[in-house]
Structures are given as structure tokens and as C-alpha cells.
Symmetry: C3
Subunit: 349 residues, 3 copies
């Protein structure tokens, strides 16, 4: 059961770390290192924030061994302070607890298999043949289509929409406004008119996946769209039909993955990046923010496209103009080379 305060020793219990200072120090919450509060614990990983350590007013800091000497307060010395912070912060998570049971206003279809431990909020609408595992939570206003399944301890925030025949694993967390199983963008032109291509596949989502707010994950056109175990998606992400996202890949906001592209395991994709369709991206690939991935990537590594560096608009205008005149510059260099060759030759004669 949750308490309102813990000793450092209680928080450290079971974690791989060393306490420097007073293990009985009382901690009632978390804070940042720059805005430290009495009774709160902070963490330090990002070098940008090291300057705040010597004067922090937090009661304790989770940090690396190398920073321990500069810590003026209690310290939890860890090999991975951010992960340790994640474990400790969970003690102070005050997300409202879910009320077990099915709200009387929820509409439940026929032939469903619903574990008695679920929590279903007001005005949820659940189709026929739906399966909900133990401890599934569904907040108000969610709509779940026929034959859709959610594994145990999966959690839907309010106003999530799952279409029919979506399969979601265990401990999956889906934020509000997200739509899963919508039709892929399949259109075929005939005699100048677009015709819809029926989208007959499913969406299969593994275990321990987190999906942010207002995402759209389309069902497969023929086979399935697959999000493997441990994938983490930020808000406002678009996953096209028949895409496969490999295990433990994390993707930031506004990324679009076009149809049939496969991204390997352990990938990292920065915000606003985009993938063309029908590509294969290797495991352990990092795509930096804003990159347009227009070809398959076979080797692990960090990849980018475009031109980086924010500059003043006037500088940018000049650069843009120069680039659009690069052909002329190349011609001038070519002319110089020719003239110089002629000059050298004439001189040698």
C-alpha cells in the first residue's frame, strides 16, 4: 500500500545502489535538481544540469558515482540514475486509482469474455466477442470493436477508440484520443477516380507497449500491422498499414511510418521523422528528428537527412539561394579548371 512518505532506505530497498548520507532521511515526493524542495528527491543524469548540484536544495539526489563528491545532500549512487529515479518515483505516483467493476452506463456486447477484475468506466461501449483480461482498466468514453482483445493489466485512458479485431497484449498503456485499427490509406485509381481498397488485416500489439495521445495506428491491408513487445510511442504518431515496429523501439511525436515499412528492434526515432513505404530498417538504428527516411537502412548507426542548424532567417534565405545556384558554382569551377589546364598547357609548350 502506498504511503505519503518513505525513508531513503525504504526507497532504496531492492535497488542496485549505494546510499551516501542519512538512510533515515524522510522523502515525501520528487523534485528537479534546480528547484529542489525539502523532503524531495531529485536525479542527475543530463550534464546540462550538473551545475545545479552543488547548490541543490533537494533532500537527496540520485546520481552517478562520478558526481557523488559534489553532492551537498544525501545521495543515492547508482549506475543508471534515471532508471532508479523511475523506480522510486513510482512510490509517489498519485494517478487516481481505478474503481473495480463495470460502470452501470457501460454498454457491453454479446459473447464477451470479461474478467471480473476489470474496471470499465462510464459510457464505454464494447462490441461483441470482446476479451478483456484480468485487471484491464478502461476509462470513460472508450469504444472497443467486435472481437478485440486486451491482455491482463492493459490500461486505456479516456476516449480511446479500438476498432474490431485488434489484439493488444499485457500491460499495454494507451493514452486518450488514440485510434487503433483504423483503415489503412489504400486507394486505387481507375478511370480518374479513386476506389477504396478494403483493409482486411488486423493490428497486433505486444506486451509492455506504451502508446501516447492522439496516435493513429492503421490495421493491415492484407496481413497485420504489428507493434512488438516493449515498443514506446509518444503522442500524435501515425503507423501505416502493415508496418512492423520491432521490440523496444522508441518513437517520438509526429513520426509517420508509411505502409509496409519494417523498423528493427531497439530503434530510436526522433520527432517529426518520416519513413517512406516498403522499407526495411535494421536493428539498433537511430533516426534523428525530422529525418526523411526514403531508403532501407541495412546497418546499425545514426542517420539523418536535410540540412541542420537553425540560423537567422536572412542567413537562411542566402543559403537557400546559394544552394539553388549550386549548379552555376559547379560550372564556374569547371570553367576555372579548363582555363587553368589550358594555361598550364600553353605555358608548357
Amino acid at each position: 500500500m502506498k504511503k505519503s512518505q518513505y525513508t531513503l532506505a525504504e526507497l532504496a530497498n531492492g535497488l542496485d545502489l549505494t546510499i551516501q548520507g542519512d538512510p533515515q532521511c524522510i522523502i515525501r515526493g520528487v523534485c528537479t535538481i534546480q528547484q529542489g524542495h525539502e523532503g524531495c528527491i531529485a536525479f542527475l543524469v543530463n550534464p546540462l544540469y550538473k551545475k545545479y548540484l552543488p547548490t541543490t536544495t533537494a533532500s537527496a539526489v540520485i546520481l552517478l558515482q562520478e558526481d557523488a563528491d559534489n553532492c551537498p545532500v544525501n545521495a543515492l549512487i547508482a549506475r543508471d540514475p534515471y532508471y532508479i529515479y523511475a523506480k522510486i518515483a513510482a512510490y509517489f505516483d498519485d494517478r487516481p486509482a481505478s474503481v473495480s467493476g463495470i460502470h452501470p452506463t457501460a454498454v457491453i456486447g454479446q459473447h464477451c469474455e470479461i474478467d471480473p477484475s476489470v474496471s470499465i468506466g462510464a459510457y464505454c461501449v464494447i462490441g461483441d466477442h470482446v476479451k478483456l483480461g484480468a485487471n484491464v482498466v478502461m476509462n470513460a468514453g472508450c469504444v472497443v470493436g467486435d472481437y478485440t482483445e486486451l491482455g491482463e493489466s492493459s490500461y486505456l485512458y479516456a476516449n480511446v477508440t479500438l476498432y474490431h479485431k485488434v489484439k493488444i497484449g499485457k500491460r499495454v498503456l494507451i493514452a486518450s484520443g488514440t485510434v487503433i485499427g483504423s483503415d489503412g490509406f489504400g486507394i486505387a485509381k481507375n478511370k480518374g477516380i479513386w476506389h477504396k481498397v478494403p483493409q482486411l488485416g488486423r493490428v497486433m500489439i505486444g506486451d509492455d507497449v506504451e502508446i501516447g495521445a492522439n496516435c493513429a495506428i492503421d490495421r493491415g491491408a492484407i496481413g497485420d500491422t504489428v507493434i512488438e513487445n516493449g515498443v514506446k510511442l509518444d503522442n500524435l504518431i501515425q503507423i501505416g498499414h502493415n508496418v512492423r515496429i520491432g521490440e523496444n523501439t522508441a518513437i517520438a511525436a509526429f513520426v509517420g511510418v508509411s505502409g509496409s515499412t519494417e523498423i528493427g528492434k531497439n530503434g530510436l526515432v526522433g520527432g517529426q521523422a518520416g519513413f517512406s513505404g516498403h522499407l526495411t530498417i535494421a536493428e539498433n538504428v537511430v533516426i534523428t528528428g525530422g529525418t526523411a527516411v526514403t531508403r532501407s537502412i541495412r546497418e546499425p548507426g545514426i542517420y539523418s537527412s536535410g540540412v541542420g542548424g537553425v540560423v537567422s532567417n536572412s542567413e537562411w534565405r542566402k543559403n537557400s539561394a546559394r544552394i539553388n545556384r549550386l549548379d552555376k558554382l559547379i560550372d564556374r569551377v569547371k570553367a576555372l579548371e579548363t582555363r587553368l589546364s589550358e594555361l598550364t598547357e600553353s605555358k608548357e609548350k
Copy 2:
């Protein structure tokens, strides 16, 4: 009525194609050419997938005449295999059928004209003076504002929001989470403070339009925002106030069209492209993914912006640095030209 299986001859009935092989071959579903299943039909258009044809284990393949000789199984030879696939796949579409009638929990306003054939799901909320044509379907949780109209056979997936005075044509399909008729982004600054500009126009959507999930289509500021017949929009698209999208134009995910821009008929817009406001784009224009369209386009053609090609991050850093030093390179070329001219002149003397 739908059946669970068809002969090739039944599927081909009425379509412009030639059967090669056994017209009595039984087909129970669709598959991809690379993952062929006994009893399933695949299609082949994308040259990337031709390598899978000789060994496909599908029971039949829809393909072009030029590929027919390499097909080891039954073939449907078509001039447009993808379109033919779309027609045939419809036989196997298992989207749950809509239940006719108005769910007892739906809240319906006053003075509405609702065809008796409609299907309105649980917890839909429909305003006053709304008109719903024959066979309109509205899944659970949709909200429809006053004076909004949907033409016959239009279909809203769950949790769609239509504001007031939106007019939607016939056979329009709208995916979940999409918002139509929201206020345009109209703000006027006065004495350092932004003031809202009332958005008094409507949204007018033609027939046979498809709109994906979590899109936002703003109402006009003065006149209307117009989506013409046959337009197809992917997920997460933003259409600003007073935009007009011409007939049969197709737009991919994350495209933003700023206020008052008009895109002509038969356009194609790649994902993550953006349009500035007040532009006119001709008919038959293709905008590639990620392009920033900052000027009007008068001629049909394919247009792009930025710098293409995903490269290693280290290469990208060098390229970016080189571009930001282009002015120096230009100066060096100019210096070379001057020196060479001097050299030549001195030589000629």
C-alpha cells in the same frame, strides 16, 4: 449476400480481366504474394515484389499481362491489378455490419430529419436541425452539431466530432477521432494581446470523400472550407480555414494546408508536406513527402523542396557545415576567377 468462399470465375465476374488457369479454383481470402496461402488470392503491381512471383504459394495472383508467364499458379490478368484487387477484396471484407436503428442511449435534438434506415450507435449526441440521409451509419460516441447534414450512405466510425453547420455529401467515410468544423486559427493582435477572430464559415464536404483518423478540418473564417468530391485524406491531416481541396486529390498523413490555400483537382500530396496560406496550386500537381510549399504552383508536375537523401549522421553534420560555409566557397571561387583573369591578362601583355 456474402459467402465464405468464391470461385475465381465468380470473383472475376463483371471485371475487365482474363483468367489464366482454373476458373473453378476456390478462393477464401486474400494474401500477399510473398506470404501466399492456399486458397488465397494475391496481387502484383510493385516491381519490388516481382521476385516473389515464381515461388508464390498463393492460389491465384492478380497481375499484368507482362508478368503472366512467370506466374506458377492461377492468374487474373488485368490492366490495373491494384484496382481489380480492390474490387475482389471487397468480397472478403469482414467489417462488422451495422445494426439498423437508433441506439436507445443516443441523444437526438429537435427538428432533425433522420431517415428511418440510419444506424446510430450508443452515446451518440446529435444536435438540433440535423439531417441524416438514407443508410447513414454513425458508430458509438459521435457528436454532431446543430444544422449539420450527412448525405446518404455516409459512415462515421466511433468518436467522430462534427461541429455545427457542417455539410457532408454521400458515401463519405470518416475515421475515428476526426474533428470537422472546428474554428480556424484566426487571431488578431491589438496592443500586444491576441484577439479571437470569429470563424463564421462552414465546412462543405463532397461525395465519395474518405477522411482518416484524428484529422482536423477547420470551418471557414468567412466563406467555407471545401473538400470536393472524391478527395481522399489519410490520418492526422490539418486543413485550415477556407482551404479548397480539388476533386480526387489524395493527401497523405501529417500534411498541413494553411488557410485559404486552394489545391487543384487530381493532386497527390506526400506525407508531412506543408502548404503556406493563400496559395493556388494547379491541377495534377504532385508534391513529394516533406515538401514545404511556400509559393503558388501554376503548372502540373512534380515538386519538392529541401534536400533529399538520408545519410549517416556524421556525413550529415559535414554537409550541414559545408552548406553554412557555402558563402566562403563562393568567395574562394570568385577570388580564383579574378586571379586567373589577372594571370591571363598579364600573360597576354
Copy 3:
């Protein structure tokens, strides 16, 4: 009370402008200058539209002194015509009026403080300990989490989702589909697996803020995400955890602001721009559309990144290739410089 028509004099009442022409001219609505209607009033600011003034068929035009002589109809001469238009257009705003009271289907939690003047639509679900100020309006299908507060005259369109402990000021307008208070994208890797970092902060939104459709504003990880007074957000915007947006900053669609970045007052951000995390952006900074802001900006000004200018795709391909060969061009210039130096030296000898 609203009327269906006004005289020019009535519309001009209390505003800082001069009437040119007939103050008794009857106005029944608004129109654009290019599609003028009898009985309607237009405005003129954008120079692109000046060509329409001499032939406009509007009954009156709000314009600058410099354009007054070219106006063939009645004119309201103003220093800021767009702002004056905003004030006048409000007379013709026909957004459906809200019905006061709580719809019988709304589910209200315990220990709430709800002003009797509120309007709560059908199927809204409101958690425990929620505070709603005077004249708050909430359209159908909104979900409001525990301990969330809305200040007086704030307005939620249908299907808005507010998580727990979100604080929203006065006169805030939020469009449909928007999600506020969702978990920030906090993940920590340990032994190859991502672990969720609890998001314990809140979202604090000031007064007079407008937020468009289908936005996502994440709660803080430790401290709060803050949107200051007078901020205006377009549709489909992503605000990461612990971001702060300064007063009166306006941001266009598809902009993403990564975690802990602070944008100063009076900023302007164009569509599809993106901000890396942990940046500080000064006041009065303009970021043009599509710009990737990857470093802090200390000085007011206009900033851009990338390469501008939409060109034909064939030209673009050549430019992209040239840029990826820039290193070779630099080498050629260097070689020319060396040869020319040698030549000059040998000549001098």
C-alpha cells in the same frame, strides 16, 4: 442581444475608426473582399487582395487609411483593420448558444465545486474534486479527471479529454479531440528494456488561452507543464512534459515542443516547426514554418533552418546530389587554389 442586422454606425460604436460613406448602411453579415455580397462587410489587410478593392461588391470594407481612396463602397477606416474586423464579426457569430444546466446523462463525481451557471453536455464524465467556475461550458462527451479545475467562462467543445489535476484558467477555449494532461514521454532503459518514468507533474494553463483540435499537452514529469496567459495554439500541436510557453505566444499546426523547452513571450511559431528538449527560446522570437530548432535562442529575431524554395522534383534531385557532392567541389576548389599558387610562383621565379 444579438440582432440579424446592424447599421455601420452601430458596428463602429466604441471602436477606434472613421466611417467613410453612409453610417446608416445596413450590414447583415461578413464576406471576403473578392466575393463581396450586398449587405455584407469585408476587410482588407493582405496586400495580395488589394487588387479586388476597386471592384468589390461588398457593402462596406474595413481598411487602412491608405486604401480609403480606392474603396468604391462604404469604408471603415482603421489603424488595425483585422482587429476591427474581429470585433465586428463577433456580432454575426452564430455558434449555437449553450444551454445552461447539467444534462441528466452527465456523470459527476464526488466533492466537486460546480458553479450553478455551468453548462455540461450529454455524456460528459467528471471526476471527483473537480472545480468548474461560473459560465463554464462543456459540450457532449468531455471527460474531466479528478482534481481538475476550469476557471470562469472556459469552454470545451465536444470530446475533449482532461486528465487529473489539470488547472485551466478563465476564458480558455479548447477544441474537440484535444487531450490535456497525458503522461509525458518519459522512459528509462535498463538491461535493454524500456521502463516507464512516472509523470507526476501537472498541466497549468493560464487565462485567455485558445487550444485547437486534436492537440496533446503532456503533464510534467516532476514540475508542471505551463501554458501562460494569452497563448494561442492551432490544431494538432504536441507540447511535451515540463514545457513552458510564454504569454501571448502563437503556435501553428503540427508544431512539436520537446520536454523542458521554454519558449518566451510574444513568440510566433510557424507550422510543422519542431523544438528539441531543454532549450530556452527568448521573447519575441519568430520561428518560420518547418524549422528544426535544435539550440537555444538568446536574441529576438526571425529564425529558420533547412533549405527553402519549392522547385521541380528533377531540379531538387540535382540539388540534393550536388549537396551530397559538396565535399568534392570543395576539394576541386582547393586543388585549383594550389595549382594557381604554384603557377603564380613559378611565373614569378
